[in-house]
Amino acid sequence: MGGGGMAMVRRWTALAAVAAVAVALAQAGAGAQAPIALRYYYPVGASGPLNRLMTEMVNDFNASHPGIRVEPVFAGNYVEAMAKAMTAVLGGTPPDLAVLDTPELYSLLDRNAIIPLDDLIAQSGGARWLDDFYGALLLNARANGHVYSIPWQRSTPIFYYNKDMFRKAGLDPNRPPKNWTELAAYGQKLTVRDASDRVTQWGVEAPVADTSPWVFQGFLIEAGAKYFDTETGKWVKFNSPEAVSALQFILDLQRKYKVHPPGPTSKAFWDQVPQDFIQQKVAMIYSTTGNMTFIRTNAKFEWNAAFMPAGKRYGAPTGGGSFYIFNKIPQDHVQAAWTFIRWMTEPAQAARWSIGSGYVPIRKTELSAPAFAAYLKQVPQALTATLQLRVAGEQMTIHDVDQIGTILVTAIQAAQSGRLSPQAALDQAQRDATAILQKYQ
């Protein structure tokens, strides 16, 4: 046993020596400095194994940047991620950077939570670098003449339709409805009723209000409604004639043409719509580009994607999350966070995320990244979403956006249930929203 003890001591000595050498080497490799540790919050707002892909990408970044160590924190969906980030900010321990729902811009600014990125953008080539991002995606990154976020996982609602059903109904499968009138007419041909007048196949489903009025904003833009203050986020105009006509059109689809399931579009409806589509219970749907992968892998029929049919004009809101850098973090953390954002949004990396998730490409050069070109050959429909970005409008980005969004959702549902007329519902929403925005005037 005594001999064993001695051997043990010798082995420990050897181990210690090896460890010392290893530590020395590691330090030399890292420039004799501990890497900057960045706390990075990210949400996952779409289906699919996106958690794993995000972890892979962060690991690749950490491996190629020895001076920086990004520590990703999965923060739930967008609402939860925002709540986590804000709680951390209020507690005085903000994360270094986060991907948050882009329209939270004013909410973050009102809490003095984020920093403008102009100087960092200037370091990276300024306007030339920024102009490679799609303009529509930057619309709600700007406030007070500054850029506050860099697009990341961006989406837009898009119009999916079942080509087989078009053929059966005698419609040209390569000609989706171009405008609201055609949509109603197509809907009537595509709505199928059985002998006892029960609907077995709906013409169209649009989740205009689930817990956010996102898809409805597409209809507002198409109706030509100027429904919020795009400059300073201080007012909304929900009850303009254009806005009322958009809501009236939704009700017409439900009640007059009877081509859309009746009643309020609820939270559950949001998830039900793509399910209904792959189950062939509906011919045309509005859903996020983020569901394209789901539809592609599950649809047992020929389908296509198209622009949301136009009202007075084509239009769709953008959606999804962008990178924000937080206020009150050390300067070297700001630089490191920027290095991470630049790396993540490089065309090759951004393409990796778009392909893995179904989010739209964020940069023009991303389209020519080899991986994305190959992906487009396989899924040509993915290009439609990118093209629609050219006609996309700004997603409502105002102060207290979550509260006012909820008010608009309630108004839409009140009109759909018949409790209020479209005009009365939107008047009510306008009054409630104005009362909330009062404090920013």
């Binding site: 909410s107 209000a209 817990t211 189950q279 219970k281 549902q413 249930s417």
Partner: protein, 313 residues
Amino acid sequence: MQDQTEVRRFVASPVALARPAALRRRWRVQPYLFLLPSLAFLATFTYYPILSSLEMSLYRVTATVSHPTFTGLRNYAGLATDPIFRQVLRNSAEFLAGTVPVTVALALVLALLLNRAHALTTPFRTAFFYPTLLPLVGAAAIWLFVYTPGYGLIDVYLRAIVGGGVNWLGSPALALPAVMILTIWKNAGYYMLFYLAGLQTIPAELYEAGRLEGASGWQQFRAITFPLLGPTTLFVLLIASINAFQSVDQIWLMTGGGPDNTTNLLLFYIYQVAFMFFDLGKAAALTVFLLAVLMAIAALSFGVLERRIHYEV
């Protein structure tokens, strides 16, 4: 007894002999030391948050206001004029009235049916208890599918009877009942367990005597079973009422409070106001209100109802 122990320790320990006063003091501290862990947890996660909510409810605190300003009872006054709060109260009352009596009655019936041992008792007990084992979030996700119009379980079976296409979670009239049905399904088995335990404590002689007197099954239930289950019923009613006011998971997952705020319940509204709208002062006032409701339920149960309940045979 305690004194004897002390005496023995005095003799055994020279240190104790030298400092008897100190030891005696330590002896009295001991019970508090045992209480300390739970006290620490209660203080951290219950008492402090309650006091802090009380304080915050008197201030205007939103994430945009850097320095909270004292506003007295203005947050409470704001609640009185908030139409959504009024609707939330109506919804919560409806939810309470719709879930508690049905769940408790169902639990009692299940317990009575499954109290006597026969071949199928165990499988049935397991079947009725199993919803309790599921996390509520998982159960709500399943019921989301059950309620799907067109091909959801309920729609498929109801189609033959009333015609399909009922949009349970999308209809302002049906959304809250739909959530209630899930809640009843989820909780009945759990309360059944309390009743089963209660039934075991009723002496068999009482039923024997009842039978000898020629009492029918219903008479036995009315005169023996139900009165003797009084404490259990009180307890289950209390738990069920508190649960009703604490329901939030299923709302969050299934309806988001909609459509048109018809399923917005008190706790979900607090979540909305606090973590989506970041109006922390108003959320604190709502929390104090919820707390008052829960305490009132507890006081009512233990104060008023208790007097009418038989505890002794």
